[in-house]
């Protein structure tokens, strides 16, 4: 089986569904090799909703109200913004155990253009009450999140990559329940990131270390709810940098700044790096577009060095 994020989580759900007839997996015409196996072997628990994300979310609510655990799956832009009202009214208002699997966050679908990019989901989904936002950075963290959906069913949105990500954590890594992990412990400066951009942060951190600048790197796996202990932890640093593949209005950086202020921490230097306030029509691939936005590891390295 591939190590694409979608296959990893569908396999976890498949194993769970094999033993539990009350687990349903819905797709709005979005596939994966692991899903082919699910459809083949568990046809009664797989539901093709049509390319109808709004219906898929409403129907998931009906299934969940009747005591089932439901996973809904589609391309990330369409399973979030297109059916946001359904997520609010049918899932969040009734606080139902449904897992929203969105594939292809950020610029993951480059060069498809801005219809297929999801540069505002953190901001938008953070505003939904009763919903958790989980952002895996590799296979182990994704499996950890998948296990949480099984152990503690609730409304969650999982931000998934279109493809695979390099491993950050060993297979047997023990994830704490706080929803964040310390990737590297440095001093004075810390970088917070998540998902794909965590890898950029990590690369930048390694380059900085060569220059004897030892920055801490934090992986924020649970963007919502955000751990208060994370805020206590990062308040020890003089300079805090956030990195996201999102436009900055209301995004990851905003959430961190809000949390710092809420905790009475207002005298730190905070720098939020993110995408430009524009729709990206430019060709060239994801790395090209990130570079253009100052989000390559080299750009991050330069920014931190000159801070």
């Amino acid at each position: 089986m591939s190590n694409f994020q979608r296959d990893i989580i569908i396999d976890e759900v498949y194993n769970y569904a094999l033993k539990n007839k009350d687990v349903f997996f819905m797709s709005a015409d979005f596939g994966a090799p692991a899903l082919d196996k699910f459809r083949e072997n568990l046809p009664d628990q797989f539901i093709h909703s049509g390319i109808s994300e709004q219906h898929m979310i409403d129907m998931a609510a009906g299934l969940a109200l009747d005591g089932n655990k439901v996973y809904v799956y589609a391309m990330a832009p369409f399973i979030t913004l297109r059916c946001l009202e359904q997520i609010k009214c049918s899932l969040a208002m009734m606080s139902l155990p449904v897992t929203i699997l969105g594939v292809g966050i950020g610029l993951g679908y480059a060069d498809a253009g801005p219809t297929h990019y999801l540069n505002e989901d953190i901001s938008v989904m953070n505003s939904i009450v009763n919903l958790d936002i989980c952002s895996p950075s590799d296979e182990s963290s994704l499996k950890f999140i998948a296990k949480q959906t099984i152990d503690i069913p609730k409304l969650r949105y999982i931000r998934m990559e279109r493809n695979s990500l390099k491993n950050i954590y060993p297979n047997d890594y023990y994830f704490n329940k706080e929803g964040f992990e310390i990737i590297h412990k440095g001093k004075n400066i810390c970088i917070l990131s998540t998902g794909y951009m965590l890898h950029k942060a990590k690369e930048a951190g390694e380059k900085l270390l060569n220059d004897n600048i030892d920055v801490s790197i934090y992986d924020v796996i649970n963007i919502k709810p955000l751990s208060n202990n994370l805020i206590t932890e990062i308040s020890k640093y003089e300079k805090i940098i956030t990195i996201e593949e999102q436009t900055l209005n209301g995004g990851f950086g905003s959430i961190i700044i809000n949390a710092l202020f809420k905790n009475g921490i207002s005298n730190r230097t905070v720098k939020c790096l993110g995408l430009k306030e524009k729709y990206y029509f430019q060709n060239g691939g994801r790395e090209f577009l990130l570079n253009d936005s100052g989000l390559s590891s080299d750009s991050i390295y330069e920014t931190v060095k000159n801070l």
Partner: protein, 276 residues
């Protein structure tokens, strides 16, 4: 159903209509137009032997499900729920007050309400989930959904209609409250919905239409629905918005409650006299 029974149900309709009016009056807010148009539909469902429920047990696992998709009209279920023992009748007097468990729109914290509603166009999709789940469990449970015709403007309704038909959800029974009036006027002037029957039939529903204020016709038509044809059902209930209060009937303004003068309150109460 005998004539005597129908007469009893008509009497019950008068009780429900008057009770809803008094609750709206006391709350001084709500949506009388679409509440009053669906009274006979609800009486037929709950007292005409159509919907399966268990007295005093709002969460009985074998109950049929109901979703009033036009959530602004869900409050007309509250007097019925109190009557069948889902909660204390005293609760009805508190409707609209800050200490009341009964909200302006239905939500699942209220015993008997199976789905929170309010925003149009969600009920049919949620109902598909109920109906599909019942089929997977081989449970003989029907799901009843009351749609306003205004919801036909929401695209999500048609997404769900496609699904219900493809999956032969014959345990899904939709009642379309066709009172013709949306907020800005007659649907056919604002943006035509007709031919409604053909639209739903072409989506694979078994469609019947009926005088939505004739209990005998509503019950007969429910019984006429072929229970073995594998199709979801749609009953077009042709109704009158604001039915029962002459100055509200067929008036788009009756969508929202407006404070009433003493004379109009008197007039409404006279028209809504309950049989002794």
């Amino acid at each position: 159903m005998t004539k005597t029974n129908i007469k009893d149900l008509e009497s019950k309709s008068k009780w429900l209509r008057r009770t809803c009016f008094e609750m709206l009056l006391s709350a001084n807010q709500g949506h009388p137009g679409s509440i009053l148009s669906q009274i006979e539909i609800l009486i037929s469902l709950y007292y005409g032997g159509i919907i399966k429920y268990f007295k005093n047990e709002p969460y009985h696992p074998d109950r049929d499900k109901i979703i009033i998709s036009k959530g602004h009209a869900a409050m007309s279920l509250y007097p019925i729920f109190a009557d069948i023992g889902y909660f204390d009748k005293e609760e009805l007097k508190k409707f609209g007050r800050s200490d009341s468990m009964l909200k302006l729109f239905g939500n699942i914290s209220i015993p008997g309400i199976d789905c929170t509603s309010g925003s149009l166009g969600h009920g049919l999709g949620v109902g598909c989930g109920f109906a599909y789940s019942a089929k997977m469990k081989n449970a003989k449970i029907n799901t009843f959904i009351i749609l306003s015709e205004g919801e036909m403007y929401e695209g999500s309704i048609w997404e769900s209609a496609l699904f219900a038909s493809h999956h032969s959800l014959d345990n899904l029974i939709v009642i379309l409250d066709r009172n013709r009036n949306i907020i800005l006027g007659d649907t056919e002037d604002c943006l035509a919905l007709e031919p409604i029957k053909d639209k739903w039939a072409s989506f694979g529903f078994q469609v019947e239409d009926v005088d939505g204020h004739s209990i005998a016709d509503i019950i007969d038509t429910f019984n006429k629905f072929n229970k073995t044809n594998d199709k979801p059902k749609l009953l077009i209930a042709n109704t009158i918005k604001g039915k029962g209060i002459s100055f509200m009937e067929n008036k788009s303004f009756s969508h929202y409650w407006s404070p009433l003068s003493d004379d109009l309150i008197k007039k409404a109460r006279l028209e809504l006299t309950i049989d002794e």
